[in-house]
């Protein structure tokens, strides 16, 4: 095994120590989702997801050079950078940012925690990456040491307590991706519904929803709510997706091994 699970207190402690010298990544990933861009992003081999793509990453802070690529590539925006080399008092935290508002170095912004609650204001030291809608930027904030570890993001909005502002509603996405594994959009599901299926199992055959890596465990509640909500089917008729082994991707060589 390379490193230890990234979110364990030990690893966080080690990263905090290392941040005294230079920037280091802090990975707050504990969801077992099929995802591993962080592993490929790291040129130093500090992050390992391994053959089981659902496993949370292993992280070795000793190998991290603080380049920040993993933070830019993590689809869940679960990685931040920590830098305490500037001395006592102020810690620099770099967080990924994908919102529309422009953030400018020298100004102040709100640092937010895991649930999006404001922690306090911090000075923007640097904004790297292209400043465009949908692009990921890495925003470096200087914040007090006591809550630096809680910072997970930055808000570009002027917070409501300051100046109330009309919030413009983003256009609603009509055709969202319902089944991520098989990339089935809700429009294809509606099309399949036109064929008047009688159970989720039949819908699966009609539209490929739930035929992928998660076998429907991630999308089926949304699917059922959507279908019942749009009166496409009775809740009782929906049933559940059958999940057959293996419940996670397993290589053939492991399945065929003597230990089964």
């Amino acid at each position: 095994m390379k490193g230890k699970p990234a979110f364990t207190p030990e690893v966080i402690e080690e990263a905090w120590e290392r941040a005294k010298e230079a920037p280091v990544a802090l990975i707050d990933c504990r969801e077992e989702i099929p995802c591993n861009p962080c592993e490929d992003a790291c040129a130093k081999g500090a992050i390992t997801v391994g053959p089981n793509i659902c496993a949370p990453p292993m992280f070795d802070p000793g190998k991290c050079n603080g380049c920040g690529k993993c933070a830019l590539l993590c689809p869940g925006m679960a990685i931040i950078l920590l830098d305490r080399s500037g001395g006592v008092g102020a810690v620099r935290v770099s967080v990924p940012y994908e919102m529309r508002e422009t953030l400018t170095a020298g100004e102040e912004a709100w640092a937010v925690d895991n649930e999006g609650k404001a922690l306090g204001r911090g000075k923007i030291i640097k904004v790297s990456g292209k400043d465009e809608v949908g692009g990921t930027r890495l925003v470096t904030l200087e914040v007090p040491q006591d809550w630096a570890l809680k910072v997970k993001g930055v808000s570009g909005r002027k917070l409501l307590i300051e100046v109330p502002e009309e919030v413009e509603e983003a256009p609603r996405q009509q055709d969202f991706l319902l089944c991520r594994c098989e990339e089935v959009r809700v429009s294809s599901v509606r099309e399949a519904v036109g064929l008047r299926f009688r159970s989720l199992g039949a819908l699966r055959r009609y539209s490929r929803v739930g035929l992928g890596i998660c076998q429907g465990r991630f999308c089926q509640s949304m699917l059922r709510d959507k279908l019942v909500g749009e009166s496409m089917m009775e809740h009782a008729a929906a049933g559940i997706f059958k999940v057959r082994p293996p419940v996670r991707p397993v290589s053939l060589s492991r399945l065929g091994g003597e230990n089964g």
Partner: protein, 390 residues
């Protein structure tokens, strides 16, 4: 169903065979009603691979029927609005022993004499077909006419087209009784009411035995389980459908091609591999009798994985993302049961296709449609009569 329904023809079963039968009946202008207990492709047609295999058919009428059937796929693919992923990719049957090789050679000769294109390939020839072969693979027989299709899309596409041509599809409706008076079918009683009809086609797959009982006829079909593994989707690597010679051994009970290990024999293990249009590789399969239990089992998953690596070592790192099992309508000799029933006019059987239902669906649909509407068929189906078992 408050009113009493009626239809010129009732097709019991919404699988590939029932859908194809309805499709061809509608093409001839017949009024058709499909009665399906669950949902379209809910049985064997929705839980199988997409092999359209000619070189595994029994010599004679079975092969002749399959060759006629394969000719219909391009037409169907063109005619249906839905994409059915028909792919005339050819098929490789791999031999792992000299004994198997000898048998495949002898078989190739006979298949050729029946008009099928078959070529015997050496291990060296196989390099053109696959990244790497298992060390013990001695050669193969290659049939360019073998093909593949998406069985679910085929079934849904045929049913949808039939519906457009006027067929009614009743889903979640169970047939409870068939009323016969004066030696003729009159009425089909269902969980939702009665349907007046003088012609009934039994395309109920594994449920056919139950349907037969309603007219006091023993249709000897029993469920045979086949388990299949599904890998994560990947770039196209398999150019053809692939099977091991043991697949044919367990399918057609050919002693020379039977698996040697006891465990494999018990599972009816035979190697199959195909890459679907979506990029997943389906690895099979087994032939087991487990009643109506369609669960997958650790023993079979383990055996299929081991077997696959044996034939295609390069696949060992592929991730398996799920498994499934289907219940094939097995007949005692592995051949379909088709035709009329003595003493019950208006009752037609189209079932028992075992593992060949997808391949034989178009020709079965066409021939049964002819039988129902004209009383005779363009191909002789007497070898598939119910009465061959007596």
């Amino acid at each position: 169903m408050d009113d009493v329904l009626s239809s010129e023809v009732v097709v019991i079963g919404g699988g590939a065979i029932g859908a194809a039968t309805a499709y061809y009946l509608c093409k001839e202008g017949a009024e058709v009603m499909i009665v399906e207990a669950e949902d379209l492709a809910a049985g064997a047609s929705g839980a199988c691979d997409g092999f359209l295999s000619l070189q595994t058919k029994q010599l004679g009428s079975h092969l002749e029927m399959a060759m006629e059937s394969i000719k219909l796929f391009p037409e169907i693919a063109k005619d249906l609005e839905a994409e059915i992923e028909y792919n005339p990719c050819g098929g490789l049957m791999l031999a792992t022993t000299q004994e198997q090789m000898k048998e495949l050679r002898a078989r190739a000769k006979k298949l050729k004499a029946s008009g099928l294109e078959v070529e015997v390939l050496s291990a060296a020839d196989l390099k053109n077909y696959m990244p790497e072969m298992g060390k013990n693979v001695k050669g193969a027989s290659y049939c360019p006419q073998d093909a593949q299709v998406n069985p679910i899309k085929l079934t849904l596409g045929l049913a949808q087209k039939a519906q457009e041509m006027g067929a009614t599809i009743l889903k979640g409706v169970k047939v409870e009784n068939i009323v016969v008076t004066n030696n003729r079918v009159r009425e089909v009683n269902t969980s939702e009411g009665s349907i007046h009809s003088r012609r009934v086609v039994c395309a109920a797959g594994t449920g056919s035995n139950q349907i037969g009982k309603m007219i006091i006829v023993d249709i000897p079909v029993m469920p045979q389980r086949g388990q299949i593994l599904v890998t994560a989707a990947r770039e196209p690597v398999l150019k053809t459908i692939v099977y091991g010679a043991e697949y044919l051994g367990t399918k057609a009970s050919i002693d020379e091609l039977m698996p040697k290990e006891e465990e494999a024999l018990k599972l009816g293990l035979g190697f199959t591999a195909e890459q679907t249009a979506s990029g997943n590789i389906l690895l099979g399969s087994t032939r087991e009798f487990a009643g109506f239990d369609n669960q997958t089992t650790p023993e079979a998953i383990n055996a299929i994985a081991k077997n696959a690596i044996n034939y295609m070592p390069w696949i060992k790192d592929a991730d398996v993302i799920r498994s499934f099992a289907g219940l094939r309508p097995y007949s005692p000799d592995g051949l379909p049961i088709m035709g009329t029933v003595k003493g019950v006019r208006g009752f037609y059987i189209a079932t028992g296709h075992s593992g060949d239902g997808i391949c034989l669906a178009p020709i079965t649909g066409k021939l049964i449609s002819e039988l129902v509407l004209d009383g005779e068929t363009s191909l002789d189906i007497s070898p598939f009569s119910l009465y061959r078992f007596k």
